[in-house]
């Protein structure tokens, strides 16, 4: 029951390769969508939809606008300069919970896929972990975190400054994944280290200059640091939780309501683009588009490696291939599953950004809109299991510390973490 696209008005001439004249739906206005994005490989589906004709096929012209900060993306979406935007998966959840400095209702009907993040430490710090704990070059993500915990304890005993670690935004997968990894190793991210925000394109330079000792960001910036020989990749997103949602397409709920057909066509276009991005034989074309100045403006070779999941862990030739490092479509990666929004909410509670209440549970889950996805793509596009499922209870999709997330037992789940903020609030209260 895929929505049948009405013939776009601008395509009568056969063989006309020009984009159709801005098609109009009588009630929805011209279908030129201004879409904000940040130059990252996980914007691939959006970029491919614009570059390889998937949007045009649905009668939509995507006007992609590169931006410099997530705060800008949020504000430009809120104040109608963007119709849709490439966003961090926690951003709509934070918006619905009223968190951040300009919360404005935001929803997502489409997830741009999984994967792409990694944690990189300075080679200096990693060498110290090897020397002081006997860590091997082939240690797991958890062993790396435990080794860092030992070094952090040693630093404290000797009165040294704690490491400064960079992430991207307070409401980001990177913030929660970095904290998850640190805490799994026994490090309190608020007391034992100093977390700061560094814009992704500056991470490699900041690491080289010693301004930070490690970071968690998306591709290609981890590989940029490792290839330069200034960083060592110690964990990938897949190691922390393979299903963790990464970026999403955000929009204003009132805009989605007044443009139902545009939203459906957009989802159909993004779905086709996501399938295309997942196929390895298209990666050369995709890499070439992404490397362009208008998009990521990074070396094409690095982008090719990133798409293939071929990691140079450091500049000494230690390599690792991560199967499905990026999943643009497979495994229902585009499905905006509300239990994922609730997992994000659980981490917001864990680190003191929000509080547990029935109302907040409802608001957090409402940021993810599988109903819009279903409306556009039909029931056959849906996963078998429910919108709210138990996360991390299957082989191949475990959390690195073995915890299992049952949204029905939110309070117990958060309480079950040994490391969490001291002012975690599990009673119903509202400090927003």
């Amino acid at each position: 029951m895929r929505v049948q696209a009405a013939p776009p008005t601008g395509r009568q001439k056969a063989g006309n390769s020009n984009p159709p004249a801005p098609a109009r739906i009588a009630s929805e206005g011209p279908r030129i969508l201004r879409a904000g994005f940040i130059p990252l490989v996980d914007a691939s589906v959006l970029i491919a939809a614009a570059e390889f004709g998937f949007a045009r096929k649905e009668g939509i012209a995507l006007d992609l606008v590169k931006d410099v900060s997530w705060a800008n993306v949020r504000d430009r979406l809120a104040f109608r300069q963007f119709d849709i935007a490439h966003m961090l998966s926690p951003m709509p959840v934070a918006a619905m919970l009223g968190l951040g400095s300009n919360p404005s209702p935001t929803i997502t009907p489409f997830s741009l896929g999984c994967g792409g993040n990694a944690i990189t430490l300075s080679t200096r710090l990693f060498d110290r972990m090897c020397n002081e704990t006997g860590l091997s070059d082939h240690a797991s993500a958890l062993e790396n975190a435990q080794a860092l915990a030992k070094v952090v304890r040693n630093m404290k005993e000797r009165g040294e400054q704690p490491p400064t670690l960079g992430m991207t935004y307070p409401f980001s997968s990177h913030n929660y994944e970095f904290r998850y990894w640190l805490a799994a190793g026994g490090i309190d991210p608020d007391r034992d280290v100093k977390l700061v925000v560094v814009p992704p394109p500056l991470t490699s330079d900041a690491l080289a200059a010693g301004a930070i000792d490690g970071f968690c960001v998306g591709a290609p910036w981890n590989m940029v640091a490792s290839e330069r020989g200034v960083g060592r990749i110690v964990a990938a997103k897949q190691d922390i939780w393979p299903s963790a949602p990464e970026k999403v397409i955000g929009m204003r709920p009132e805009w989605a309501e007044s443009h139902p057909e545009t939203v459906s066509r957009l989802i159909v276009a993004l779905d086709a683009a996501a399938r295309w991005c997942d196929r390895a034989e298209n990666h050369d074309a995709l890499a070439e588009a992404l490397a362009d100045q208008r998009y990521i403006a990074a070396p094409i070779d690095i982008i090719r490696h990133v798409l293939a999941g071929e990691f140079n862990l450091d500049a000494r030739g230690n390599r690792r291939v991560i199967d499905r490092y990026f999943s643009f479509h497979a495994g229902f990666a585009n499905y905006p599953r509300p239990s994922q929004a609730l997992w994000i909410f659980s981490q917001m509670i864990r680190w003191g950004q929000s509080t547990l209440s029935e109302q907040n549970m409802k608001m957090a889950a409402s940021a993810y809109r599988p109903d819009l996805y279903r409306l556009a793509l039909g029931n056959e596009a849906l996963p078998d299991n429910a919108d709210i499922r138990i996360e991390g209870d299957e082989d191949g999709d475990r959390f690195m510390d073995g915890h299992v997330f049952d949204p029905a037992g939110m309070a117990a789940y958060v309480a079950g973490f040994a490391v969490k903020t001291t002012h975690v609030t599990l009673a119903s209260g509202d400090d927003i």
Binding site: S69, D75, Q81, S101, P170, V196
Partner: protein, 195 residues
Amino acid sequence: MSRLDLTILVIDENTIRASIIEEGLREAGHARVTVIHEVQGVARTIETLRPDVIIIDLENPNRDMMEHLFQLTRTVGRPIAMFVDRSDTASIEAAVEAGVSAYIVDGLKKERVKPILDMAVSRFNAFNRLQRELAEAKSALEERKVVERAKGILMKMRGLSEDEAFALLRQTAMNEKKKMSEIAQSVVTAAGLLM
């Protein structure tokens, strides 16, 4: 505290634009204005300065770092939030459009901040206009130069007078529905290939 006792921090990597904003604030009677051009160490600046109002340009990639900082201030009793007057979306839209945003400390009345933001918006717009005009003037000058060169080439190669060379360029441009500078550029390029 009088209206003019607000402590204002301006963060703008563009030093000229920052000084234009600073001047506007001083003209409006604000004496406690601090301007910084880079965000390095901004956390400490905010801690010591304790500004009531922060004005920042939106092209600054370090805005996300400020968001993190403001998240932390939530717990320390002097929360800072983005200036958003939901009853006046037009003016905040104009600000975002102009490329500027403001943060204010919790509890500060909106009407005390609005004139500051409005002034910043109009000066940002004036600055943007000035830059655009400058760029246009530059390209007009370039166009005039290329027409002069094309004229010279035609005079030399076809033995025309200056007026005739100019008339030929203009007529060709009209015939081909192009700008005179474009025709002139092709003459210059062609001459470069032929000679």
